[in-house]
């Protein structure tokens, strides 16, 4: 009975993992779910509400929205993943430098991180986009850079926590060198928190990427991308609700699933350390 209750606690995480798995499959093999062409125009079928042939309805040019949303999964996830990887990667370097380096380096890095944190994340991303110019690559870099300072601070804290722990001191008494302590204790210790951090961040990154595309700075039309689709439907929000509803639903679904999974990972990490 108690094992039943224990497994019941994992149902949300299992569901979230399933949703993400399906989305990843859709991103890699969109044809599996939507065999049609996302760019095929059929002006006669413009602005059809959801029906049996077009489950999500169609847009003004008569393109099937379901096909476009499914085909939009790839770019959205890819940019989100790329941005998260970039952000976490950069943050790991900054976090370790600040956490383990000499005091002046920690001071300098921490102040830079704080200055960057003072900007709202999206504004920072917009700033980067102004420099890099619009496009998928620019959006990835922008979101990656904008999320890095937040991660860097968390990683720095975790690194310092482990570096000051009793077991690192015990390792020093045993005569272990700096590299050995780094690879044996500090890296594995932070890796666990990084995994949950990355999953949690993925949802946020996807939302931001979509936001940039929505503002016309991310993936350029007519390519299907959730944010760009939202932007397309924006002017018809009062009349043709499905144009914004379905892309929005997928964004929310992805973000919520990533968050639920990330929370679950964080919880198991905490119970270990």
């Amino acid at each position: 009975m108690s094992s039943l209750r224990r497994s019941a606690r994992h149902i949300p995480q299992a569901l979230a993992a399933l949703v993400l798995l399906l989305l990843v499959i859709a991103a890699v093999f969109p044809g599996l779910f939507a065999p049609g062409d996302p760019l095929a125009i059929n002006p006669a079928d413009g602005f059809q509400p959801p029906n049996t042939t077009h489950p999500f309805g169609t847009d003004g040019s008569g393109r099937d929205l379901y096909t476009r949303v499914i085909h939009g999964t790839g770019p959205s996830l890819l940019i989100g993943l790329g941005a998260t990887a970039l952000g976490i990667g950069l943050a790991t370097v900054l976090g370790f430098v600040a956490g383990l380096g000499p005091r002046w380096l920690d001071f300098g890095t921490s102040r830079v991180i704080e200055v960057m944190l003072a900007f709202p994340g999206l504004v920072l991303a917009l700033l980067v986009m102004v420099i890099s110019g619009p496009g998928a690559f620019g959006a990835t870099v922008a979101v990656g850079l904008a999320t890095a300072p937040g991660y860097a601070r968390i990683i720095r804290g975790r690194v310092r926590e482990i570096a000051g722990s009793g077991f690192v001191e015990a390792a020093r008494v045993q005569g272990r060198g700096r590299m050995r302590i780094l690879t044996r204790h500090i890296l594995p210790g932070t890796a666990r928190s990084l995994a949950s951090l990355a999953t949690l961040g993925l949802g946020q990154a996807i939302v931001w990427v979509c936001a940039l595309s929505f503002l016309g700075l991310g993936v350029a039309p007519p390519a299907a991308e959730w944010g760009a689709l939202l932007n397309d439907g924006r002017q018809f929000i009062a009349t043709f609700w499905w144009l914004t509803f379905f892309p929005g639903l997928f964004i929310v679904l992805t973000a919520v699933s990533a968050t639920v999974l990330g929370r679950g990972l964080a919880k198991t990490t905490r119970s270990v350390s």
Binding site: G166, F167, E169, A170, V173, Q174, G175, G177, R184, G189
Partner: protein, 561 residues
């Protein structure tokens, strides 16, 4: 005959399927002190807390009778229990720092109890609070009443807590390990205070694993083990002439008056290793020399018959400073360690013992002074030159849990130590790990467990096993048994003694417990305020102390028994 204040018959407490308390009977008359003793996990604390309906969430409490004065506790609802707690029955917990709100002044803490349980007006309550502080022996109550727990020392804090408990004018006091966290002299003061309260007619239920503490104050002693009372009776009978084997073990666990190298628990599975692979180099079984080293302080080479010291610290000084405050932690401390011998370092908390240990281990750099390891400079020295010799100096600490990487299993921790840090691959070091576990008396079944899943005693054994795996000459032990039960402490002390003789280890043994120090040490150094006040052969220092502070320290311990 007077009615008992507390009348327990057939008390049972269960947590799920686990039976924590299995049918105990207990009675306390006014002015009587009943002590409930036993190892941790024996159910003594749960029993005491069940009286207040505080056995814990998920606890199922049943009893044939559970009466306080004339109230049936089992019939009380949450409201009735609240009136009982702090009113008729006061609870003195172990950790005063945790029990007192750091944001409230002592006066407010007492005032709250007075508000709840008396009908006094504000001015009368203030007067009563001052009176209570005086009663529990807090000097300068007018000033102390405005202070917060953080501004008080451990002893004053415990006294303040007792004052706030007394404010409810309880007929019965339950003291749950009230002195465990305290230094010897503070402990004596608190026990005296409890004895005074008892003499004034308060019933006292004292829960403790410390039989020495119980000896002076309890009228009746009940020994608990595995949720049952295995033996009970007048204190003098139970402690002086125990009928049960378990009580004898508990009593034997005390290091008081047990000479050096005499096992505390003869029947315990003391881990004298059967075989010592990887450690053959140190498996010299030369019998220990018993000569005294009067040169403990100076560190000079000693007399002809005594060997040269293995480690000499000279004039170590360390001052910590932050934000304009500077705290001299260690001042001009010198000591010498001899092969196969134990140097005991005594001092109250905050005396600088641990800092001295960290200086010797090279974890802190001293402001001035040196440490030599067999003639070569150890401190100050760059870590790179120190590292090849690091394995000769091992350490175990009071809180072993924090010294283990929580991700690693016991086997991985030992593999790491045996490989000199190169690997945590347990399979590659299976035989070494198995020998290590044997050597410290740990069962092979702990291999796959993580430190969190081990008991306190097992953790300390594991940390000793890890320390020995590096084949050290010197073992620095910083309060290694202070967090352990008396019986577990006895087993660990016996283990250390066996290993020391087996491997001719030099021990720097730090403790605030004089009984432990006297039992384990060949020479002792007494430390206070960062200064080593006195040092010499154990017998000499304990029997005829030269320093005034040492004398005061010893007097407190002697008076306790």
């Amino acid at each position: 005959m007077t009615r008992p204040l507390l009348d327990i018959r057939g008390l049972r407490v269960r947590f799920g399927d686990a039976v924590a308390v299995d049918g105990i009977d207990l009675r306390i008359a006014p002015g009587e002190c009943v002590a409930l003793v036993g190892e941790s996990g024996s159910g003594k604390s749960v029993s005491a807390r069940a009286v207040l309906g505080l056995a814990g969430p998920g606890a199922r409490v049943s009893a044939d009778a559970l009466r306080v004065v004339d109230t049936d506790v089992l019939r009380l609802g949450e409201r009735g229990l609240r009136a009982l707690r702090g009113g008729r029955v006061g609870l003195i917990p172990q950790d005063a720092l945790a029990a007192l709100d750091p944001l409230h002044t002592i006066g407010r803490e007492i005032d709250r109890t007075l508000q709840l349980h008396t009908k006094l007006g504000a001015i009368a309550r203030h007067e009563r609070a001052l009176e209570l502080l005086r009663e529990v022996g807090i000097p300068n109550p007018e000033e102390r009443i405005r202070q917060r727990p953080g501004q008080l020392s451990g002893g004053l804090r415990q006294r303040a807590l007792i004052a706030s408990v007394l404010a409810g004018n309880p007929a019965l006091l339950i003291a749950d390990e009230p002195t465990t966290a305290l230094d010897a002299r503070v402990r004596r003061g608190i026990l005296t205070l409890l004895a005074e309260l008892r003499d004034r007619g308060t019933g006292l239920l004292l829960v403790s694993h410390d039989l020495d503490a119980v000896r002076g104050i309890a009228d009746t002693v009940a020994v608990m083990s595995g949720g049952r009372i295995v033996e009970s009776g007048p204190a003098a009978d139970v402690l002086g002439n125990p009928a049960e084997e378990y009580t004898r073990t508990l009593l034997a666990a005390s290091p008081v008056g047990v000479p050096r190298h005499t096992p505390l628990l003869s029947a315990s599975p003391v881990g004298v290793p059967r075989h010592t692979p990887l450690l053959s180099a140190s498996a010299r079984t030369t019998p220990l020399t018993t000569e005294r080293h009067t040169s403990a302080l100076t560190g000079t080479a000693g007399t002809e018959e005594s060997p040269a010291p293995i480690l000499v610290a000279r004039d170590l000084t360390k001052t910590f400073s932050s934000r304009g405050f500077s705290v001299p932690a260690v001042r001009q401390a010198s000591l010498a360690l001899f092969p196969g011998q134990t140097l005991g370092l005594i001092g109250e908390s905050g005396s600088g013992k641990s800092t001295l240990a960290r200086l010797i281990l090279g974890l802190e750099s001293p402001d001035s002074g040196t440490v030599d390891l067999q003639g070569s400079r150890w401190v100050p020295a760059p870590e790179s030159t120190r590292r090849p010799n690091r394995h000769r100096l091992a350490a175990i600490f009071q809180d072993p849990l924090s010294t283990f990487d929580p991700r690693l299993s016991a086997a991985q921790i030992l593999a790491e130590a045996h490989s000199g840090g190169r690997s945590i691959h347990a399979a590659a070091f299976a035989s070494e790990i198995s020998a290590s576990l044997d050597a410290v008396g740990l069962p092979q079944s702990v291999r796959s467990r993580r430190p969190l899943e081990l008991s306190g005693g097992q953790r300390q054994r594991l940390s000793i096993a890890r320390a020995l795996a590096q084949n050290p000459d010197i073992l620095v032990c910083d309060e290694p048994v202070s967090a352990l039960d008396l019986t577990v402490q006895a087993r660990v002390l016996d283990l250390l003694d066996g290993l020391q003789r087996e491997r001719r280890l030099s021990l720097l043994f730090i403790s605030h417990d004089l009984d432990v120090i006297r039992h384990v040490s060949d020479t002792v150094a007494v430390m206070r305020d960062g200064v080593i006040r006195e040092a010499g052969p154990t017998e000499r220092v304990f029997d005829s102390p030269e320093d005034e502070y040492t004398r005061a320290l010893l007097a407190d311990t002697a008076a306790r028994g």
